[in-house]
């Protein structure tokens, strides 16, 4: 474990390139452009954050990337190869997602070991039992958690299981949709530490969506501010910390995130 964050290697292909992504819901007069001409690139091993208010389209971008919404315009390339709109199994083997609410993302009647065994079976991995023990240890739970049902786990433990399920097939890119917003601050700290640790150990690339600026800048080196389906600007985490923003909307967002100041 090194103390510095891994820098994106310049000579490797970009982990993810999104160009001119647009998602439209409805048609005619009720048409809504949820995502409007969004482009960004993720270097290998980088952590990138999308921030914005509810309804700005950040989660829609993530859903389009994950293949949960195949009706989109523009192109998405994973390691310099364009991915088909209808994703294949090979794609899911390398890109996995962790959802916001650990209370609804785990099957209530499946034991932890069955939750974890399923992706292994789908992708034809060998040694399933060893892999389950390994991943449970890696997310800080330990093999004894195999026989638990979700209702026997706390919120933080459930999110660890959700992370374990995503990581058990050794993906390269992890899509994180507000992974800590349903958790208490102390549990949030645990999960953020775990995500940081796993990224180092496993050389992962993260794309994270959040409305919490402090959380995003803690985990990501680069963030993009979204509003009304568009990316307003990209900033480094240091820019965000120093409050260096060009767009007035971003400045307002940064200011509002710091805490409460009465509006004069």
């Amino acid at each position: 474990m090194s103390a510095v964050d891994p820098a994106p290697a310049a000579n490797r292909p970009a982990a993810l390139t999104v160009s001119h992504l647009s998602v439209v819901f409805g048609r005619g007069r009720s048409m809504l452009k949820a995502v409007d001409d969004v482009s960004f690139t993720l270097g290998h091993g980088e952590a990138f954050g999308l921030i914005g208010e509810s309804g700005c389209g950040k989660s829609t971008v993530l859903r389009a990337l994950a293949g949960l919404n195949s009706e989109y315009g523009g192109t998405i390339s994973f390691q310099d190869r364009e991915v088909p709109h209808k994703r294949d199994k090979a794609f899911f083997r390398r890109v996995q997602m962790v959802f916001q609410d650990p209370y609804s993302s785990l099957h209530p009647r499946k034991m932890v070991q069955n939750v974890l065994a399923e992706p292994l079976k789908i992708h034809g991995f060998d040694r399933p039992q060893e892999r389950i023990d390994e991943i449970l240890t890696a997310v800080g739970l330990g093999p004894s958690f195999r026989y638990r049902f979700p209702h026997e786990l706390s919120g933080g433990q459930r999110q660890r299981v959700a992370i374990a399920r995503a990581l058990i097939i050794e993906p390269e890119l992890l899509l994180l949709d507000e992974p800590t917003s349903a958790l208490d601050v102390s549990v949030q700290a645990e999960i953020l530490n775990l995500l940081k640790q796993l990224r180092r150990d496993r050389d992962l690339t993260y794309l994270m969506v959040s409305h919490d600026l402090a959380v995003v800048t803690h985990l990501c080196e680069r963030v993009a501010m979204m509003s009304e389906g568009r990316i307003l600007e990209e900033m480094s985490a240091a820019d965000v910390r120093a409050g260096r923003a060009h767009e007035p909307y971003t400045r307002e967002f940064l200011e509002a995130s710091v805490g409460y100041r009465p509006i004069a």
């Binding site: 102390s186 700290a189 640790q197």
Partner: protein
């Protein structure tokens, strides 16, 4: 400071079960004057239950016991359900987390606000309507006459919460209990809603109990903060001194937050000390 509005001494709330009882609030004491008091804590710490207990809106299974639970000289413990009804909404009102669930979906917004006013004031429909419109304007709703006729599903979250505030403040209560009033809102809207709440509470000289899990927000917004853990108040501290808190639990909570102004490689994960469960409340800072 004059006599406090609300005095709570040794309050406990117990849920009786068939095999074992759970004490969710365990012997807490505090008082609230005409000021903004924040209650922070993690989920399950008993902060919301404390807020509900003041209004005696606890579930049937809960038993409340206290040495003293008085509001403006009225003993709430001894108060009948009839007396409580005249206090709720009128003298103490509550703002809940999500306007989507706390507004009646089948009633127009304006009717709900008017109803809240007429329940406690004997006035005619016209007068109440005028009052409701004025109140909507006070919570900075741009076109009150239009919004008056809307249904709750037709307004945004931020507007819904402002409507809730209008509804809760229209009977001019002395004490407002706000349970996570801005957790469901975006940061920029949050600021608007808070400044409206701040202005109205300060102008009317009402007391506010602000229940939240967000330490930074409470530190900025409130005058005084109670930190709760496992049904106990760990620390009672002036908000501006929160960042110099002395209780290890308060410190641990503060350290576990990722911060914009200070980059940390790994966050502190709080470790819990069983001694806190029965420890005394730490009174910090100078009392005003």
């Amino acid at each position: 400071m004059d006599k406090p509005l609300l005095e709570v001494e040794d309050l406990s709330v117990t849920f009786k079960g068939a095999h074992r009882s759970v004490q969710a609030v365990r012997g807490i004491s505090f008082s609230v004057g005409r000021e903004k008091v924040g209650i922070v804590g993690e989920s399950g710490s008993g902060k919301s239950l404390t807020g509900r207990t003041i209004l005696k809106l606890t579930p049937k299974a809960a038993t409340i016991s206290a040495r003293k639970l008085s509001f403006d000289g009225i003993d709430l413990l001894a108060a009948s359900e009839r007396q409580m009804r005249s206090i709720r909404g009128n003298r103490i009102s509550m703002i809940l987390q999500d306007p989507k669930f706390s507004l009646n979906p089948l009633m127009r917004v304006g009717e709900q606000i008017t109803e809240a006013y007429r329940l406690h004031h004997k006035v005619g429909g016209k007068e109440a309507e005028a009052k409701a419109l004025a109140m909507l304007e006070a919570v900075k709703i741009r076109d009150p006459a239009r919004v008056f006729k809307l249904f709750p599903h037709e307004v945004s979250g931020g507007m819904g919460q402002r409507i809730m505030i209008a509804m809760m403040l229209i009977p001019e209560p002395d004490l407002i209990i706000a349970d996570e009033p801005t957790s469901a809102l975006d940061v920029t809207i949050r600021r608007q809603v808070l400044s409206i709440l701040d202005e109205l509470v300060t102008r009317r000289g009402a007391g506010l109990i602000f229940i939240s899990h967000d330490l930074n927000l409470v530190a900025d917004f409130c005058d005084r903060v109670l930190v709760m853990y496992a049904g106990r108040i760990m620390e009672d501290i002036p908000a501006r001194e929160l960042h110099n808190a002395r209780h290890p639990y308060t410190r641990a909570l503060l350290d576990s937050l990722p911060r914009l102004d200070r980059q940390a490689d790994m966050l502190q994960v709080p470790s819990r000390d069983p001694a806190w469960l029965d420890g005394p409340t730490l009174q910090s800072g100078s009392r005003t």
